[in-house]
């Protein structure tokens, strides 16, 4: 019921008066209702539950998280490289 992985919007269309789309999960394509994320654009990633897109993934937020992790990783590597630590 809960496909918890993000999918990429590859098509927008209308069906029975509802804004719909096709979402690609790494090759598997699903039909998804977009009524709750009307501002979504092609190429954006979304979280879908039971055929309904519930959020547009915020690229800026995701990048911030990954940058913080990367910085920590670099710091840890430097710390490890210092003499006296193994």
């Amino acid at each position: 019921m809960c496909l918890a992985i993000p999918g990429k919007l590859i098509k927008i269309y209308e069906n029975t008066g509802l804004k719909m789309g096709e979402v690609d999960y790494d090759g598997t394509v699903s039909q998804v209702c977009l009524e709750y994320v009307p501002e979504i654009l092609l190429g954006q990633y979304t979280i879908v539950h039971a055929g309904f897109a519930l959020s547009i993934l915020d690229e800026e937020e995701a990048r911030k998280t990954l940058e913080i992790w990367q910085e920590l990783l670099e710091k840890a590597d430097q710390f490890r490289d210092k003499p006296g630590h193994d």
Binding site: T16, G17, D26, Q31, Y36, L54, E59, W69
Partner: protein, 362 residues
């Protein structure tokens, strides 16, 4: 940004988070992950095996299939057996044991039971079969309620008189409160369910933090999300703070998704709800508003003669409350297996027993 997946599963980052957890921990803590999807990610990736011994993760009630009450399963089976009915359900529900049988065996006996992935598919079945009654088993947490609400609104718009939903929606925050209020409670902090909060936002969790003085970190579902959630909550626990923090900012906004929340409120009202294995929890469920009674299968098909019978050996209620682990159940893997489940926690893709059976070689 490539796929929002691999970047959040980088093992080097996972090791970094684990180092940070080891550095932070000075004493034992009990942390509950609420969401069944997180339970599966934890057990599958082995996070529970590599945490320092001071950190005990307990698995929460966040499996909607598991907590759907036996009465609803029995009611669903009774409706599914009616000759005029096409009964549509998520696949997860078909093998959930009712008192006497499951939906799959109702289908074997001639019931027209169909698997759908979305309530909109059930609507399509109703359009294509105007001479049959199409009933959708509308279960789930706050994540599936917006879709089910939309299906009702759409059916009303189109005048689809042969469509109805058997609604059994449960709400997460009341269950979190109940667990914290229990005299047996051991939970000191919550990793809250990222996708439920994607819909509902953070307000209800702020109140829980204040009322119970426990930290809550809204957390995503990838392994490194969960590890970062643990770093954040352990940092709070070790410094005596109790706040709501949002680890999953890429999906969760403070206000949630207002369009989805409004649609849920338009179609459903809040009611006291029974949770399988846990009991009646005040204001923890949703029922279809009187205005939409024509699309409420519980009103359309009165099923009155239900006498429920739960397998005595099944301890899924205790497992759902985080008081025991699946492998502490005497029936686990012997009398209870995915092919012959005693309880729903063994069949659902979000159930803790299914996660242990699938990923732990016990």
């Amino acid at each position: 940004m490539s796929t929002y997946l691999n970047e959040f599963r980088d093992p080097a980052i996972a090791h970094l988070m684990l180092d940070e957890i080891r550095r932070l921990v000075t004493r034992p803590w009990v942390i509950m992950e609420v969401c069944g999807g997180q339970t599966h990610a934890i057990v599958r990736s082995g996070i529970d095996q590599v945490l320092p011994s001071e950190i005990r993760l307990v698995h929460g009630p966040g499996c909607p299939v598991c907590v759907t009450p036996l009465e609803t399963i029995d009611q669903a089976i009774a409706i599914a057996k009616r000759p005029e009915v096409i009964f549509c359900s998520f696949g997860d529900m078909l093998r959930v044991p009712g008192s006497q049988q499951d939906l799959l065996s109702a289908r074997a006996e001639g019931g027209d039971v169909r698997i759908v992935y979305s309530p909109l598919e059930a609507l399509q079945v109703a359009r294509e079969n105007p001479d049959r009654q199409v009933v959708f088993l509308a279960i789930g947490f706050e994540t599936t309620a917006p879709g089910n609400a939309m299906a009702v609104i759409q059916a009303a718009k189109e005048g689809l008189a042969n469509f109805s939903i058997l609604a059994c929606h449960v709400l997460v925050p009341p269950a979190m409160r109940t667990l914290l209020s229990s005299p047996d409670n051991q939970v000191q902090g919550y990793l809250a369910a990222g996708h439920v909060c994607t819909v509902m936002g953070l307000a209800e969790y702020e109140e829980i933090c204040v009322d119970y003085q426990v930290p809550i970190v809204v957390t995503g579902l990838e392994p490194n999300d969960i590890l970062e959630g643990l770093v954040m909550i352990i940092r709070q626990l070790e410094s005596g703070r109790h706040e709501v923090e949002n680890q999953y900012g890429r999906s969760v906004r403070t206000v949630g998704n207002p369009l989805a929340r409004d649609m849920v409120a338009r179609v459903f009202t809040i009611k006291d709800q029974k949770w399988r294995g846990i009991g009646l929890l005040p204001k923890s469920g949703l029922q279809v508003r009187e205005e939409f009674a024509a699309f409420d299968a519980s009103k359309k098909f009165a099923v009155t003669d239900i006498v429920t019978h739960e397998a005595a050996e099944c301890i899924s209620g205790i497992i759902l409350q985080g008081l025991k682990r699946p492998d502490q159940c005497p029936a686990f893997g012997t009398g209870c297996r995915p092919e012959h489940p005693l309880g729903a926690t063994m069949v659902s893709s979000e159930g803790a027993c299914a996660a242990y059976y699938q990923y732990k070689k016990i």
